[in-house]
Amino acid sequence: MSVGAMKDQWYPVGLISGVTEEGRDSLLLGEPIRIFLDGGTPAVTGEGERPLPVELRYGHVWTCPGTPTRPLFDIPEADQLGRRLVDVGVCRVRCSPLRAVENFLDIAHFPFVHTDILGSEPHTEVTRYEVGIREDVDEVWATKVQFFQPQAAKSAEGGITTDYMYRVCAPTCSVLYKTSPPMPGEWDVIALFVQPLTETLCDVWPWMALYDDDASMTDLIHFQQLIFVQDRSVLENQLPALLPLDPGMEIPTRADLTSVAYRRWLKRNGFTYGAQLVAA
């Protein structure tokens, strides 16, 4: 398996707050890396102690095992006053990093996987939404996504129809925007930063920028962890483990348009680490 174009992308490798002097060993795209404090500043090295580029953003340490072809993506909401920034921590999943992102882009599973939290029967319909590639930034965007939810967020009481927008800003990173229950007209931001350890193993680092002054930090973290543990039970049981990029293997419907666009975008960019191509 060649790592291809994914080598030159940015990946999260840990919480900034979690880096220590003695450091920690990890993997990135199958290669060993080390994250440690160098004179008080987080640093990352690859094989043979080769220093790798480092960015410190959105609560996480970011690195690139190759030569970055573009700067780390921007999440402007991270700097908006009044938002609480939540480092959720890590969740290890035995699945393709690309399958983890695709699941994050999916709303149709809410009533079945996050029953009575993010969705519930009989409110299962996925209405038409819009998907496209924003060519200027080369990102996948889904807009006008709507879903009925019994308890959309920690701060939500009773059922509401929630508006969503999704964006894929790097092959293993996605950000979703959803109606903020305490601040109508504003969007809560929830991001899924995925560290590809190997093609079938990843560390997932969720991160949030919320308008929520009431819930305790612990409750916010627990809520997000509960959701992700439910997702993990699906992610570790999909066959094949690698994400099929060529049509034929799986059957998308209109509700899967974001997934279809994500797969096409991956293929077009040669982002195939964790993917399965028919002509292998």
């Binding site: 999916d106 149709a108 599973h109 009533p111 079945f112 996987v113 029967e121 009989p122 299962t124 319909e125 996925v126 039970s233 699906v234 049981n237 999909q238 066959l239 094949p240 099929p244 293997m249 799986e250 059957i251 998308p252 419907t253 209109r254 509700a255």
Partner: protein, 205 residues
Amino acid sequence: MQTDWTPVALSHDIPVASAAPGRIGDTALAIWRSASGRIAAWSDRCPHRGMRLSHGYVRGERLSCIYHGWSYGEDGGCKRIPAHPDLTPPESIRVPVFACREASGVVWVAEGQPAGAPPDLAGFRGLRSLHIAAATGAIAEVFGGDGPVLRVKLGPVAVIALVQAFGDETMLHLMAPESCDLATLDALSDAAEALRRNIEAEATA
């Protein structure tokens, strides 16, 4: 004994309205029983996004996938896509279905068109299935015989061991004489567990 049928589970391990994983050759199976008691063995892969159907749930005569709730009828055809409640799913969305029969408390599955009925094991009933982390050769040695249907002794009792060989793993479906009382069945179950530990210990020794 020559047969086209493979023993994949014991009937009592697949209660009404439930699904469980199994295997035939290299193919993962979802073995499930409908509300009316009908048994079936399907490919363990939802055609939508590949989720294992053995993690799904049964309502009435349909098996539904736990990921997005697509539900499939008796023939393996998709009957409902909850994200599009008004859509009639096209005929082409279908889960591969295997020939499946129950006899003497055993669920038998076959690939293609099996000739004849599954072996008749009258006088016996399912005891328990054991997953053994050892090649089938190690088991043949302990039992002193090989083949898919072994008549062997477990302690003083003559039992039947149905063997599924998977390289360095083995599934054993054990059957006890119908006449055994509960105490004997308990003792047999413990003996089976001890047997598994022995075989695994020998195999790694």
